[in-house]
Symmetry: C2
Subunit: 190 residues, 2 copies
DNA sequence: TTGCTAAAACTAATGATATTAGTTAATATG
DNA sequence: CATATTAACTAATATCATTAGTTTTAGCAA
């Protein structure tokens, strides 16, 4: 134990995530976080390495939770059902935690191996989901990039209010997944 | 004419775009822009409505140029060829002007009707490209959302260094477009 | 219990930024 | 050539991140 307990790290990350979800990733400032934790800004330097360190920590935290959600979505499922559910879980996470999701997709610093690892775990999970389609290695990797582009693009555009038209977003999502699945099936046949 | 010429608006936007391409959208500050233009920051308030106004202006400028590039890409082309070229032009724009692209996809303020219009023009252009597939209205709109998700997701992840694996990005892009086209064709047959 | 130590909080100070108010300078037009 | 308009400027304020140095607190050992 420390000579003095101070701020709990999970409580810090949770508070930062709430700030992000309320005002976007850029609104996660040391001043705002300190205010929410009832502490002066310089005190936070005992817990994170300045603002960049806070941002990096939130990125890792976001990736962890995203990974958990995706794991839950594919648990006990396989094939097309697993694929549909993983896409929906991805978008749902971005919807319910927009700021934390935004944090999760910030560029990862080259020296943060543990954060990188979580990203790789997510890629591995998606590879496993796509294994059902029996693609060759390179094709499987291209497919994962396509899937990530779809899910991230949809989430990002939705959050940014870029889908302004009066048309169901959930129907668009279902349509998008369908297009991807049919494209994959066609690819498999070639 | 003005009693005093001052800074040319196009020159201002060009300088802001260069700042964005060099250091990202967030590095477009009044101080940095003023420095580049050889002027003090408060002088910029004669040309843009503070930092939010500068950002909004850069968003509109980015959308304009993106629209131009997409128009050029589809000029004299049709069907699958137009679709492939519009995707490639989209991603190429994001690659060569990462910061301006980032600006173009910032959320649009509800009161900026002219900026919104350019976004609608881009959607209209994509609808025209997809007309070749003879989809029903709702399906066509879902397809445009899918296409935008793909292109934006790919561009955004690529720029963020999220495609870390040692695997050709251009092959991934071509694969992605192929999946989309095959998905569309399957959709059309149903 | 009491004193020591380690860690976390604090205050004070600095530098960068956006922004506003008020002033000066330059130029197109009569 | 005088004027009005507009764009530039300086000065000042508030917010933020950051660093340095100090104080406080809580676990632990004597």
């Amino acid at each position: 134990m420390s000579p003095r307990p101070g701020i709990d790290r999970h409580q810090l990350l949770q508070a930062a995530a709430e700030l992000a979800d309320q005002g976007g990733f850029h609104s996660v400032t040391l001043a705002a976080l300190a205010g929410r934790l009832g502490v002066r800004s310089p005190s936070l330097y005992n817990h994170v390495d300045g603002l960049p360190g806070l941002h990096a920590a939130l990125t890792q935290y976001g990736l962890q939770i995203l990974h958990e959600r995706l794991l839950k979505a594919v648990a006990g499922r396989s094939g097309e059902e697993a694929l549909r559910h993983v896409c929906i879980a991805y978008v749902e996470f971005a919807r319910t935690h927009p700021g934390l999701y935004e944090a999760a997709l910030q560029p990862i610093q080259p020296d943060h191996a543990d954060t990188k690892q979580i990203g790789d775990d997510i890629v591995g999970l998606l590879l496993q989901v796509l294994a059902h389609y029996g693609l060759e290695e390179a094709e499987a990797l291209h497919s994962v990039r396509t899937l990530r582009s779809l899910c991230h693009g949809f989430s990002s555009l939705e959050r940014g209010g870029q889908f302004a038209m009066d048309l169901s977003l959930d129907e668009s999502l279902a349509y998008m997944i369908q297009i991807f699945i049919q494209g994959l099936n066609a690819q498999r046949r070639d």
